[in-house]
Amino acid sequence: MIEFTFWDILRNLLLAARWTVLLSLAAFVGGGVVGLVVLFFRIAKNKWSRRIASGYIALFQGTPLLMQLFLMFFGLPMLGLRIEPWTAAALGLTLFASAYLAEIWRSGVDALPRGQWDAGASLGLHYLQELRLIILPQAFSITRAPTVGFLVQLIKSTALTSIIGFEELVRTSNAINNATFEPFKVYGLVALIFFVMCFPLTQYARSLERRAAAN
């Protein structure tokens, strides 16, 4: 039997944590892009476009992420796509993130006074220019704190991808635990690594919140 020292465990966990970070970033960026599209539909003038976007958001916010990942993992192969845990994890988390980010940014758009739209229109800007130059920059800036807060939630959510077989921090820790029989130490370390990743972001979100409250 192979002996694992404390440093072996820690080294393997840190190596696996790279995948957690990478997946979080991919899902955050991908979710941001798709979320922007959803936001576009969510605030459109067309009633049906708004309804469809609301339905999309409600669907992702009303079902467990684990189920979304399972549906991705088992559903995409039926469409003829060869799918691996990484693809299912990244796609699943991207869609999950897009729904939450669209909803966060929508609250920012709603918070802007009506006069901002009117002023844009009176300057002769058309709809897309208004969005790009006036509405979205302000909406993003007032929702910076909840956006960072959601990133923390997203990092924690990557833990669930271990269940569909993606080799990130938690899945690696399960394997190490099965070899060492030291769950207290292994899962304690995993919690610590997640904490080190998330706590600075939580503090950053909090300082953004305080700054926003002061203004």
Binding site: L59, G62, T63, P64, M67, F74, A159, I163
Partner: protein, 222 residues
Amino acid sequence: MGYGLDFGWLADATGAIARGAVTTILLIVVTTLAGTFLSILGAAGRRNGPMLLKRAIGVYVEVMRNTPFLVQLFFIFFGLPSIGIRLDPILAAMLAMTLNMAAYTIEIVGAGLDAVPRGQTEAALALGLRPRQVFIKIVLPQALKVIYPALTSQIIIMMLESAVVSQIAVRELTYEADMLQARTFRAFETYLVVTIVYLVLSMGLRRLLVSGGRRVLGAGVS
């Protein structure tokens, strides 16, 4: 190669799905009651307790909020036995869910307590109520009314998060789905049906909590 959806297995599976759903509901009811109680104690302790207690509650909240629920669950179920605390899967799940939820609701309840004007406490004390009576009868009901919508959202988030406890073999909705798809080889259809059950549960729970809240806490609660 064609692949058709097949829901023929569903007729025999309704019993298992219903049993799973009942366990999920049981988990969330216990968690809501225990979690809310714990967070009232925690929020009060964080405001009026001794320095050491305040620090401890602060650390607890940060640790729970910055680590994944799945890891907390594994730590409690697999880790605690090595220091002599052995729990049934369902007890471990309830404990993990309660501790996780309380970390979020402590801050929510705390915000509610802060929102009650100081004059309310002063007036109650002037009427001769003891401090404990002031807290339970005057401050807490008003605070709960303020935070009720946030509390409702947190309860629903926790219900959705509870899908994870299938990983320590608690026989709730997701666990039953895992068992079903292993038997029927119809993974996509099984998870699709169970996802819809979760959606119905979360929408129903929200409606129930909103209408229940109006009845108990009075008008003005959304």
